[in-house]
């Protein structure tokens, strides 16, 4: 009388998918057959049953009984090597869609909708206009931080064409893009500040709209910085405070 691991034999029987292997077993292993048929082999894996003597079958497949559990334990590891986790079926920014006709998951805002907290009721702030005329006063508080922000944005978004001094000799212009007017011409020096905001928002001539690229707050910061650039090219020494004037004189 021997005790063998029927779990192992059962697994082998299960994988062979036929009743043939049972031929070699004595009638007392009927339980295993049942296990096999009901497809619940795994639950019996740890079970050991008493058998009436070693059968040819159990001897022959002893190595399989050892190897199969090993193999079975490796399969889940290999199964984990699929790319599903890497590329999950979810929409990420600008990912490709097989649902929308333009194949883009990023959707445009539907017409006549207002994003939450984005009612934009302040016309002067969001258009640079009040009752159809450009505003002449900056609708936000002028601070050194705003000016610094304006300079940073101007040099990132505008200087490509307008150049860092606002003369309109930016690198892209040197490469053949139509030259924009200098900020230092009288027409633009006298233009109300709302004009600059409007041009950034809606474009002007060959200049495209920057509404999607520059936030309204940043557009005002840029407009304020353009004013500073204009001042820098048209300042008189007499505009300075007396102390500053004396400092200037001593540098000469």
């Amino acid at each position: 009388m021997n005790i063998i691991n029927t779990g192992a034999s059962a697994r082998w029987i299960y994988t062979s998918d036929s009743a043939q292997p049972f031929q070699g077993l004595s009638p007392s292993v009927e339980t295993i057959k049942t296990v096999c048929r009901s497809h619940h082999v795994c639950h019996r894996a740890e079970a050991a049953v008493l058998m009436t003597g070693p059968t040819e079958l159990s001897k022959r497949n002893k190595w399989l009984g050892r190897a199969l559990p090993l193999l079975l334990s490796i399969i889940p590891l290999i199964a984990a090597c699929r790319r599903d986790m890497m590329n999950q079926p979810k929409a990420k920014p600008l990912s490709e869609s097989d649902f929308f006709s333009d194949q883009a998951n990023a959707r445009p805002i539907p017409p006549h909708t207002v994003a939450w907290r984005n009612a934009r009721e302040n016309d002067a702030f969001y258009t640079g206009l009040t009752n159809g005329t450009y505003i002449t006063e900056l609708p936000v508080k002028l601070t050194p931080a705003l000016m610094a922000r304006g300079r940073e944005r101007f040099e990132a978004m505008c200087a490509e064409c307008h150049d860092r001094t606002g003369s309109g000799n930016g690198m892209v212009v040197l490469r053949g893009f139509p030259q924009p007017p200098s900020y230092h011409v009288p027409r633009l020096r006298n233009a109300p500040i709302g004009h600059f905001f409007d041009v950034i928002t809606n474009g002007y001539g060959v200049m495209y709209s920057y509404a999607t690229r520059v936030e309204p707050e940043d557009r005002w910061a840029i407009a304020a910085y353009i004013r500073a650039l204009q001042l820098s090219h048209n300042a008189n020494a007499s505009d300075l405070a007396v102390a500053e004037q004396q400092k200037l004189e001593s540098r000469k």
């Binding site: 590329n87 990420k92 920014p93 490709e96 990132a156 490509e160 060959v206 200049m207 999607t212 690229r213």
Partner: protein
């Protein structure tokens, strides 16, 4: 009792033992070489794009700022790929007949987006945020390399987790002043260690272990 083994058995034994050692080491070496090679990591391998866009030309030759096209890099987890409209801001006037830009003009005419191939593709179980890194003084070139010198865009780093951890464990070695984030030519100064520590305090980088916590990047 007669000799059981012929004399040549000594040679066989040595060849087998050393051969086995060489084989195992060789297999290890081959595996690691393949694992770290561009074949697996795609580092420095330019991908076939719908338009052979040159960052070198647009950034170095034309002086265009990173944020001109990647507008959401400071506000969003995603840096943003410019819409066709951004390209056409200049190319409605420049190179208007260039055959290489035909698909760009077609995209504007039909509204079908260009299909750029992702160069830096993190696995979907990693939640990377550009705005957080930019706000805390990690520059573009820290991860993307000298994009301003790439005629064709390619990955500069493996983006493996161990590579991320290099900085998440020692941010003081990599952090830079915020106004240098978009400076592609920035290099760590000799006193980077001290400056980095100062910047970590200044930018409130939490070094108490949150940077290496699993759920910081994996949710």
């Amino acid at each position: 009792m007669a000799q059981l083994f012929p004399k040549s058995a000594n040679v066989h034994a040595r060849v087998t033992i050393f051969g086995l050692v060489i084989l195992i080491c060789g297999a290890g070496w081959a595996t690691s070489t393949i694992y770290w090679s561009p074949y697996t990591t795609n580092v420095d391998v330019p991908l076939q794009q719908p338009i052979p866009f040159s960052h070198k030309h647009h950034v170095t030759d034309d002086g265009i700022d990173c944020r001109y096209c990647h507008t959401s890099v400071e506000k969003s987890s995603f840096a943003g790929i410019p819409p066709t409209e951004t390209c056409m801001t200049c190319h409605s006037q420049l190179w208007t007949d260039a055959p290489v830009l035909a698909s760009l003009r077609n995209s504007l005419a039909t509204g079908q987006p260009l299909k750029w191939i992702r160069v830096n593709d993190l696995p979907d179980y990693v939640y990377f945020n550009h705005s957080a890194h930019v706000a805390k003084g990690i520059g573009c070139s820290n991860c993307h390399g000298r994009v301003d010198r790439m005629p064709l865009t390619r990955k500069a780093e493996t983006l493996y987790m161990r590579w991320c951890l290099r900085c998440h464990e020692n941010p003081q070695q990599f952090i830079r002043p915020r106004d240098k984030v978009f400076d592609m030519a920035w290099r760590a100064p000799p006193n980077q260690e001290e400056q980095g520590q100062a910047l970590i305090r200044q930018y409130h980088v939490d070094t108490s272990g949150r940077l290496t916590n699993c759920s910081t990047c994996h949710r």
